[in-house]
């Protein structure tokens, strides 16, 4: 007979020390991360946030924040939001379609490996290099434009849109779509083929499957990824600055403008106030993204 019983020898393993709570050292593992986040994220953010309350003489002021209501800053905020939203939605839709095409293929197929590798690189491809790539290819002196023009197709008939908001949106899509692929692909991978088959065997068709099963399952992931793309575009600076240096439509460019004004209006406190505005918006978006990701990971 086998019987369970009390251990012959009592031990103190896992018990609190006499008279006090057990002192856990589990948190030590996150110290490097906390140090990194504190040093390179929280500290600079705090310096910026506090600096926005200081004027040129070092005295406390609310003026810098009041300047955020200047018409060109408001316009810039709206423009940045619109460009970010449009490129996020367009990037999300195109990226989701590309991800779906990948998922439909072989899990170890060439298409998947190629697109995922390329997306990893292209999602990080931005700044002056990206802007130059577009100028050199489809710009007014670019080889694609010259070729198209030579064959009777002039896509700049109504103005050189590459250096306007339309062009900026197009260039942004270049890194937004790959980012969407990277973020959305795991969610699509989580969709089990049995769910479609179960839908069919229960009397549903393709529409029912997307309407009642795959759609609701993927929507939080899609929305979360779109928010991430929005934050990605909203905080971009170098690409916009390299492509459009007249008019400065993006909010991030306004920070640069306030720090290096050619007309002598050097306003570091105001620049910090704009930065705080951006931090708040991006933080809100990121929190929403995290909440949606949490829901997605529970299902997929």
């Amino acid at each position: 007979m086998i019987a369970a019983g009390n251990p012959a020898v009592a031990t103190n393993v896992g018990r609190p020390l006499a008279g006090g709570r057990r002192f856990s050292l589990d948190w030590i593992g996150v110290v490097p991360f906390l140090a990194y986040a504190g040093l390179f994220l929280l500290l600079p953010s705090t310096i910026i946030a506090l600096g926005a309350f200081v004027n040129a003489d070092g005295a406390f002021t609310l003026e810098n924040y009041q300047h955020l209501s200047r018409s060109y800053v408001v316009k810039s905020t709206v423009d940045t939001t619109v460009i970010s939203a449009v490129t996020a939605v367009a990037g999300a839709i195109l990226g989701a379609l590309l991800s779906y095409a990948i998922v439909m293929g072989s899990p170890n197929g060439v298409l998947r490996r190629l697109v995922v590798s390329a997306s990893g690189v292209l999602a990080q491809f931005g700044g002056v290099t990206l802007a130059f790539a577009f100028i050199a290819s489809i710009g007014p002196a670019g080889f694609v434009y010259l070729f198209a023009q030579a064959h009777g197709f002039d896509y700049y008939t109504h103005g050189i849109w590459l250096f306007e908001r339309t062009g900026l949106g197009l260039v942004y899509l270049y890194f937004q779509i790959p980012l969407m692929v990277l973020v959305f692909l795991p969610a699509l991978d989580g969709i089990k083929p049995q769910w479609r088959e179960a839908t069919e065997s229960l009397g549903g068709n393709t529409w029912h499957y997307w309407r009642h099963v795959a759609g609701p399952l993927l929507f939080p992931a899609f929305l979360g990824a779109t928010l991430l793309l929005f934050a990605n575009a909203f905080s971009a600076y170098a690409t916009a600055n390299a492509l459009i240096n007249q008019g400065q439509p993006m909010l991030s460019q306004q920070i640069g403008g306030a720090l290096s004004s050619e007309v002598g209006a050097f306003e570091p406190g105001f620049a910090k106030a704009i930065a705080v505005e951006m931090i708040v918006i991006v933080t809100l978006v990121t929190v929403l993204y995290s909440l949606l990701q949490r829901r997605t990971s529970r299902w997929l």
Binding site: Q194, E197, S201, G203, G204, H212, P216
Partner: protein, 359 residues
Amino acid sequence: MTDRSGVEVRLENLVRRYGTVTALDGLSLTLAPGELVALLGPSGCGKTTALRLLAGLEEADGGRIVIAGNDVTGLPANRRNIGMVFQAYSLFPHMVAWENVAFGLQMRHVSAVERKKRALDMLDLVGLARFANRYASQMSGGQQQRVALARALAIQPQVLLLDEPLSALDAKVRSRLRDEIRRVQLEVGITTLFVTHDQEEALAIADRVGVMQSGKLEQLGPPTLVYSRPATPFVADFVGLTNRMQGTVRGGSVEVRGTSIPLVQPDVSDGPAIALIRPEAVSIDGNGGTDEGPLVGTVIAVAFLGAVSRVTVDLGDTTVLAQLPTSSASQHPAGTRVRLALRTDPVLIQREEPAPTAS
């Protein structure tokens, strides 16, 4: 309750190819109304393909599928009125249990009030009424499969298909759920096809077992017949344990280590062969002592299985398994010399090189 109100299902000469591989090679099978047939076989034998063709999830390259007298070969899955339970992870994770069960009713435009009532009734049938508001992630694997069973039955299908529904569960839950499935199947009286690679599962649950190999049915019959009278060497090998003992065919019987045993197969030519002998057909005839003989050997292991025990005996050139009542086996611990006896029930033979050990 064993009221069998199901329908007849006929698979007629079904063929399915994947490129150059033939997964189903002219499979024909008829399920009587209310019958539970288990398709048993190793991976790649075509059993799941047969089930998927019946479900309408794949198209046959040849043959017909007839349910209740209607040819459904060309019908899509969503118009066949077939309930299916998958291997695992088939519950919709964003719906609670009753919503999962009600999904098929929603597809059939049953009113919201009615479908919730019926979903709760079905959950009650599988003993999970109190889990109605739980998500799949909040239930155990066994509970999820019971919800999947309730979901498949809620649409009142003509046929129930079970695609290895127990394979992802641990042994204890598996055995309990197996009995639960059988109870519900008998209660509902639905014609059921159960696919598994687990012989114990198939033999325990089915009215008839079909053993498949290479896209063909090797044998179809009641579990006791498949086990005790395997039609082919493959079935003998695949279902249950078998001793492969070298012998010589002579005049319609095979002589194995001095014992003459009649053959199942008729018209077998004389010559060397391997006799396939079940462990239950081997008994211990007494202590071997210092005797010599073809069936005298040393016990090298005794496996306790409850009421019976399996004794492994080393005969020098081969090992043989004998299944005995535990009371008898306990008299022959490892290391003792024993004399074996072979029961003279008809056996199958195989014409190939002898294997050195019992399989």
